[in-house]
Symmetry: C2
């Protein structure tokens, strides 16, 4: 972790940005290993392009910041309840010689803090922190790829057991609770559990609910967790008893589309081209209107991060990028299906991290 | 819920703000009942001071927005993966006659979206959404007070069972898992569980960990959850076997401070005066330096919201305000203690919602 701040300072100089200001976020964890609570009291890592970084923390959070090890990487500036933390931040910027320059604020910093910074630093202009952080976060080191491979193996093992949980008469929520236990066997945290049965499968972000599984239901199971700081995310499709009308052909198209997109992944092609590869197969089969979302998203210490695999994203894929390839087809009021694996761009192609078969599994 | 948008529009006009822009947040739940996922795809409720509100949602989230009932309250504007959602927002503002005015962005909106809005609307100035939302959220209706009373009763019932969980040899984490089950008996969600034993109690936001409870430990138990959309938050102090040296006197001071602060609550006094009431008792007893945080925070659909009970906050208390009163005393490397109840300001005084005794309970 210790060279990350150096890489960031280099990125700041390359981008002509005077400093990056980071609130509680994955970027803060990435840079100094501190998992701060996103609360109304300002926590902010100030990283000047030249000069020392400073972690501004509420006094009562200071012990947590110390426990995280962050205080071994950067100086801590605790503030008391009646102090003005924005003044602490702008004071450190001034002391570091940063005034009236371009300043980057972490993308997810609460707007109320950015508005406060803008008022305190009227001569500065503000840009999104991802402008400097995206490249650092997007290209995974070999250690990070290893962590993603391990968490992918963990979620593969959960999907291997899903068929034993699915039978007519159970609710989505009951199945979800069993999946939760299975995820925790080899993950530290559950990030999300989607069990979308029958017509619920037609909503890509359906919330697992009280619907009772019935024979002839297709069931989309999309699950993910965190293990050693890195995320899994994997979708497979199951059917209760018998395949509903039209579903087998649809699923075969989806398998072909997902496989085609994965095979298109290699360094030097655009993110958009992977989306196009999946979309072309689905459109040619007549389901184009039913594929209502992008083909994938980057993954790492967050479930969704760059690069996004979407039309219009001309980002060139490069070794070390990790993302989902997850085309879906959604038929309102009937069913949906989505196949999702995480893949990593290698020096000359692609390594899929999820290794379970893609075929629909008939259960119950 | 249906009059909340009307009240907001009135507040916008009173504050000379052209529109409020609300991303996924408690404010969005409060205004239209939609619990949106805070994702990189923009979800935004646009509420012009005059004109129709519009809920901009990613196309694939649209079914969830419909399910929430929000689409019965406001028109939905779904956007496809290759659309520009910021253009949708600024287009609706222009159509509503809002240009070049003061615009409010919800406090917790991701900065990347506010920066995008600032670029798209160069003639507008931006202010924090709490400027218009705070009053609406801060004054609870009788229905909201009822919900807070019910969830307070639910967490009272959990604390009643905590003594049976605390004994030497168990870890904080084991106790925390048992508390989790108890919270879920009469809450829908767990919000946080702090079990801070011995020296860990000296960190107000300690994370429940693997420390093993031992005789002579003081244990701070601070827990909260959500029931029917409203939050509980309650702290009591327990001791394993025997009171550690000096703890009894400290706890007696704390009881007196908490009681004094609660008795000071009534309409027309400042939030700061409640903080001062608690602090004076603790300072007079010689522990002033050990009370390192504010006395309390508002509570409602969020665990922490306005009004904050802190020095410098000259907000006048008014009937319907609900907040915690939670002084604490922290002795590094030895122990800490905090007593916390939620109270509501009534027409002529105060109603405490948590009713368990404040005395330290000797367990094990």
């Amino acid at each position: 972790m210790d060279d990350r701040l150096d890489h960031l300072r280099q990125a700041l100089r390359d981008s002509d940005v005077g400093a990056l200001l980071v609130g509680p976020s994955a970027d803060l964890r990435y840079l100094v290993g501190y998992h701060a609570l996103p609360l109304e009291r300002l926590t902010m890592l100030v990283v000047p392009a030249a000069g020392e970084p400073l972690l501004v923390v509420p006094e009562l959070e200071a012990p947590r910041a110390v426990d995280s090890g962050a205080s071994q990487r950067v100086a801590l500036a605790p503030w008391a309840e009646t102090d003005d933390p924005i003044a602490l931040v702008s004071g450190h910027l001034a002391a570091s010689g940063v005034t009236g320059e371009r300043l980057a604020v972490q993308d997810r910093l609460w707007s109320v803090f950015t508005l406060g910074l803008q008022a305190a630093l009227p001569d500065a202009s503000f840009v999104a922190g991802s402008e400097v952080m995206r490249r650092l976060r997007m290209i995974k080191t070999p250690e990070e790829v290893r962590a993603l491979r391990e968490v992918a193996t963990a979620i593969d093992a959960v999907h291997a057991q899903v068929p034993s949980l699915l039978r007519a008469g159970r609710t989505e929520a009951e199945v979800g609770r069993d999946i939760a236990e299975l995820i925790l066997v080899d993950h530290d945290e559950i990030n999300f559990i989607i069990v979308a049965s029958g017509p619920n499968g037609a909503s890509p972000h359906h919330e697992t609910g009280e619907r009772v599984l019935a024979p002839g239901d297709a069931v989309v199971v999309d699950i993910g967790g965190t293990r050693a700081g890195y995320c899994s995310d994997m979708t497979r499709n199951y059917v209760i008893g018998e395949l509903p009308y039209g579903y087998e052909a649809l699923h075969r198209v989806l398998e072909h589309a997902q496989d085609t997109a994965v095979r298109a992944v290699r360094p030097g092609v655009t993110a958009a081209s992977i989306d196009a590869a999946a979309r072309e197969v689905i459109t040619d089969a007549g389901y184009g209107e039913r594929f209502v979302h992008r083909t994938g998203h980057g993954i790492g210490i967050e479930e969704h991060e760059e690069p996004y695999i979407v039309a219009g994203n001309e980002e060139l894929l490069a070794p070390g990028m990790a993302f989902s390839v997850e085309p879906g087809i959604y038929v309102p009021d009937r069913y949906g299906a989505r196949i999702e694996d995480i893949v990593v761009v290698t020096d000359d192609g692609v390594e899929p991290l999820n290794l379970r078969p893609h075929e629909v599994v008939v259960c119950g």
